[in-house]
Structure formats: structure tokens, C-alpha cells
Amino acid sequence: MLGAPGDSGGGWFVDVSGVFQLAAITSFANIFPGYGSDTDATFLSPDNLSWIESTIAPRPVGDYDSDGGVDGQDFLTWQQDFDMTGSGLAADGNKDGSVDAADYTIWRDNFGMGVPAAFASTTVPEAASLVLLLMALACCNSSRSFRRAHRQR
């Protein structure tokens, strides 16, 4: 039977006219020796479905903060992640495992994508400013401790 250790993340499905639709994700179980368990799952309520749909919706390249548009906030995300390495880095636009100048270029080239015109700035940091910024970040990063690479939205 299910719902015991190891099943976390498993799917609970509702049969809708022969099509099994995902309704919940297994979370935890209280084990009762001798016969089984009580198992709890997170129901995919409208709020949870909304979070899932908004998260998996196609995002423009360079949208490092996953808000649906490429704007100044994504530059700040790139700045914060600069020089970090690993998987799952928010500002690793080219998915090469490091956040570097190439990811800045991706952000710059896509600036304004997905952002309502009324809210989009028309200027991006210029190359000279970028050089100064990179130098500053290099200094900062020399003493910066490892930070978690995952993204909590």
C-alpha cells in the first residue's frame, strides 16, 4: 500500500470519465505498526493550481526573477547571483552552470520582453558601467559565503 516513507511527492488521481487527473501530492504519513498508515496530501486547490500554472508558464529569456517580464529586477537578480556556480541558478540564462557576463548579455538583449510598455524603462546599463559593476562584484564575491541556489517565489 502507499503513503508510507518514500511515497512523498506521489500523485493522487481522480477518475474523470476514464481520465485520471492529478488532484493532490502525497506529503506525510503517520505509521501504525501492524496495518498501515494515515496519509496526508496537499490538495491542488485553486490557489495551488494557480501557483503551478503561473510557475510553469513560458517565460521570456532573461526573466531571472520569474515575474513574467524582463526588467530591472532581473538585472538585480543577475547582480546578486553574479559569479555563482551550480545548477538551478536564477540568473544563469544560458544554463551553463555559472552566472557571468554572458547571462548579462542575455538579459540586455531581451530587456523589455513581457513587460507592459508603460512600465518598461528604455535604458539598460551600458558597457562601461558594466565593467565597473563586474569589478565591484568580483570584490564582493571574494568574501561572500555560499548561498543557496534554489529559488523561492
Binding site: 518514500g6 512523498s8 511527492g9 506521489g10 481522480v14 485520471f20 505498526p33 510553469i56
Partner: protein, 159 residues
């Protein structure tokens, strides 16, 4: 279904492929109750397999991961996380999301790699097999958003 894993010998939990690029799993499969990421040396790897002890089948490492913003700990907030894979899974059957409501007594089909057993055997050690079973919904905790299914032997109350 797949596994959230840091290596063939390390099992983090079950998960559901909701399309070619995205996997839905439990947040606590990625993050411990102290709020720290679980330290899988290889990162989060998901495989599509019938038995994770025999191999992960088609598998790859997650490119990005997202925790539900309201998740705090097990039983406290939506225990949900999404994993993104830049390369699509090919052995995938698209999962439709259920948008309706549920009631106590509804039959739900559960799929995962959980511990096996029957009322006569009790819980048995994990053998790596993916299984499916049907149980009826026995409780709904609306404020938290959790639903519950009880597994009882014939001689137990609530069977």
C-alpha cells in the same frame, strides 16, 4: 512518475511529471524542516522508472526548482515544489490537473514508490517498485489544504 534523487542509491521521494519539462513533487523532498536544502551531491535528479532500485530509467538533473512560497514545513503550508528540466522527457504521458472539488468518501488512485504491505502483512520494506492503489478519502482539512486517506485492517476501527 519519477524519483527525486541525488544518485541511484539515494531516494528522495516520488514525483509526477506534469508535462515534458516540469515535475511536481513534495517541497520536503527538496528542503528539510530546518529550512535548508537537502544536500544531494548531484543535485536533483528525476528518473522515469518502474523500480528505482533497479535504475532510474530516463533521468536527468533539474535545471531549476521552485518551492511553493507558502510552504514552511511538513504539515505547515502547501507541501509542493516544481522542478524544471531544460531537456524534455520523452517517455512521458501528459498529466491533466483536476480542477474540481473532492468529498470525503471519494475514491482516489494513488501512485508512488511508497512502502508496500497489506492489512495482513503490515508495512514491508521499500522494494523500489512503483505501485498504484485506490483508497477512499477520509478527511479534508480545508484551512491547510490537506486531504487524508486512512489505511486500516479489517479489524481496525475506520476500516
Amino acid at each position: 512518475m519519477g524519483t527525486v534523487d541525488g544518485g541511484v542509491a539515494t531516494f528522495g521521494g516520488s514525483s509526477v511529471l506534469i508535462n515534458e519539462h516540469w515535475v511536481l513533487t513534495a517541497a520536503h523532498a527538496l528542503i528539510a524542516n530546518d529550512g535548508k536544502l537537502k544536500s544531494f551531491s548531484e543535485g536533483y535528479r528525476v528518473g522515469v522508472t518502474d523500480n528505482f532500485l533497479n535504475g532510474l530509467g530516463e533521468n536527468q538533473h533539474a535545471t531549476e526548482w521552485f518551492l511553493h512560497p507558502d510552504y514552511l514545513s511538513i504539515g505547515n503550508g502547501p507541501d509542493l515544489a516544481l522542478l524544471y528540466f531544460s531537456n524534455p522527457f520523452t517517455t512521458v504521458i501528459l498529466t491533466q490537473m483536476y480542477e474540481g472539488s473532492v468529498q470525503v468518501g471519494n475514491a482516489l488512485s494513488m501512485v508512488g514508490y511508497g512502502q508496500p504491505g497489506t492489512p495482513s502483512t503490515g508495512l514491508l520494506p521499500i522494494d523500489g517498485n512503483r505501485r498504484a492503489g485506490v483508497n477512499s478519502l477520509s478527511g479534508i482539512d480545508r484551512p491547510i489544504g490537506y486531504i487524508e486517506a486512512e489505511f486500516r485492517g479489517p479489524s481496525e476501527s475506520g476500516f
